[in-house]
């Protein structure tokens, strides 16, 4: 029962069966991270290339550790130290990597849709590690995994996503993934940062954070990208924190066993206060751990045992 998708580009394109297979596989593989020797030989001789056109610590490290735990070799290329600086096109860069024997390419790129373009140029599977404002499917999957592991299910849960939905590829992947798995999704944020058409796909748009958090099972707080303030989307960081920041009082409106999530990196005191970020409801560190397990699952499913 292999994965139907050849690449992992967007949760919008993935069906519930594939998502479930990925989450189940991650559940089986997570144990490896807690072994004394964190390594299984499964992907020996496979090469994973990470190609990042945008800065990243956790996503890139997470992919590299996942590959290493599965015994794949990793090569990481960042834009500042490579021939991309010399004006090489994306297509030529990845063609070169493929000619050297890359078996799978993980890419982050500031342009939405760039990973789809890459997948068309390459025979090797492509994993989208974030493309512009479009999607960040592996973050979406690790969020689904974290919720399912803690709550035992996804179906029927109410998940509130708070913040800059418009520019957030995390929000987009979360929304698609959650809806496909049968959860209810609410969003709240400054009206300038809510994209049109959310109701059409089945998301409830709330006017206030309080309305979104009321009796929620899960709260995902998005990072506020400070450069957006300069873009005039909201008047000031302080005002954002006052009206849309999640704090203990607002979190108190949610169910007592609410999960507080944040994809990181956090702006403490802006979108989330420190006391709750480090408090008992937060699963923010678990999200990071689960990210490695989910990426191990994807590498296994895309690279393990399909060599026609």
């Amino acid at each position: 029962m292999p994965l139907k998708s050849h690449d992992v580009l967007a949760l919008e394109e993935m069906d519930a069966e594939d998502i479930r297979l990925i989450l189940d596989t991650a559940d089986s593989l997570k144990e490896i991270m807690f072994r004394a020797i964190k390594k299984v030989p499964t992907l020996r001789g496979k090469t994973v290339v990470t190609l990042f056109y945008e800065p990243s610590t956790r996503t890139r490290t997470s992919f590299e550790l996942a590959a290493k735990y599965m015994s794949a070799d990793t090569v990481s290329i960042s834009t500042t130290t490579s021939s991309i600086q010399k004006g090489e096109t994306l297509r030529d860069t990845v063609r070169t990597l493929e000619a050297m024997g890359a078996d799978l390419v993980v890419m982050r790129h500031p342009v939405s849709g760039s990973c789809h373009y890459l997948a068309r140029c390459l025979d090797a599977p492509v994993i989208n590690a974030g493309d512009g404002m479009h999607e960040h499917p592996t973050q979406g999957l690790l969020d689904l995994f974290t919720i399912r592991e803690r709550k035992g299910r996804l179906e029927g849960l109410t998940v509130a996503i708070v913040g800059d939905i418009l520019h957030s590829r995390v929000a987009r992947s979360d929304i698609w993934g959650l809806l496909k798995m049968g959860a209810r999704v609410r969003v709240a944020g400054p009206p300038t940062l809510l994209p049109p058409g959310l109701e059409d796909v089945g998301v409830r748009v709330c006017r206030t954070v309080e309305e979104a958090l009321q009796d929620a099972d899960v709260v995902q707080v998005l990072r506020i990208q400070r450069e957006r303030q300069r873009g005039g989307y909201f008047p000031s960081v302080r005002e954002y924190a006052k009206f849309f920041g999640v704090n203990a009082a607002r979190l108190g409106l949610a169910k007592p066993d609410v999960l507080l999530m944040h994809p990181g990196p956090m702006n403490r005191g802006v979108e989330i206060t420190s006391d709750i970020a480090d408090g008992p409801r937060a699963v923010i560190r678990e999200q990071v751990t689960n990210g490695v397990a989910v990426r191990m699952a994807l590498l296994y499913l895309l690279l393990g045992g399909r060599e026609e």
């Binding site: 596989t25 072994r35 299984v40 499964t42 045992g305």
Partner: protein, 189 residues
């Protein structure tokens, strides 16, 4: 491929007696339960390991730590198979270092599963000794591996299939030899 039953080898009573005998042999060979642990190989090694643990508890009064091993990640045919196997959880909730580990499986055939299982165990720690208990040894080894405890030695041809069915996984206890109908070719389990 359609299969037809060729011979019934063991029924529920036969399997029960084999498990009881193996339990006694394990205790005899290891001089008791000191440092002894059981690890069942998914899928049918798991219920067999649980039965051995129960039987040993009845005989000796000691409950052995029992683990579950999934060998998918250690298979040597991952890159050649077209049907990708689903990975299940490995649950060995104890340290195997310094332990006397008895691996348990239903059928010993080529020995490749046992090779993978030994690699998987070694990745978890350094056991003092690894032994192997199987319900059926059907021959045709492709690796230098042998079982320490055998329920039944069963000479077979490669085109035959040894089907072990257990209450916990299949709803009944039996061991039968099946072979492909008519001119169909034999296939490894």
């Amino acid at each position: 491929m359609r299969m037809r039953e060729k011979a019934r080898i063991m029924d529920a009573e036969g399997i029960r007696r084999a498990v009881v005998r193996i339990a006694h042999e394990i205790l005899e060979r290891n001089k008791g339960t000191q440092n002894l642990v059981l690890v069942g190989i998914r899928r049918r090694g798991v219920p067999l390991a649980c039965r051995l643990a129960r039987t040993i508890e009845e005989i000796e009064g000691a409950r052995l730590p029992t683990g579950v091993l999934d060998i998918t990640l250690y298979r040597d045919d991952l890159s050649t198979r077209l049907d990708q196997p689903v990975v299940h959880r490995t649950e060995v909730p104890f340290d195997v270092s310094g332990k006397r580990v008895v691996l348990v499986d239903d059928v010993l055939y080529t020995g490749r599963t046992v090779r993978a299982a030994m690699d998987a165990i070694m990745d978890l720690g350094r056991p003092q000794v690894i032994q192997l208990a199987v319900l059926v040894d059907r021959g045709h080894r492709e690796l230098p591996i042998r079982a320490d405890y055998v329920g039944k030695n069963l000479p077979t041809s490669r085109r035959e299939v040894v089907a072990v069915r257990l209450q916990e996984t299949d709803g009944r206890d039996e061991v039968v030899i099946e072979e492909p109908c008519a001119a169909d070719q034999g296939k490894e389990r």
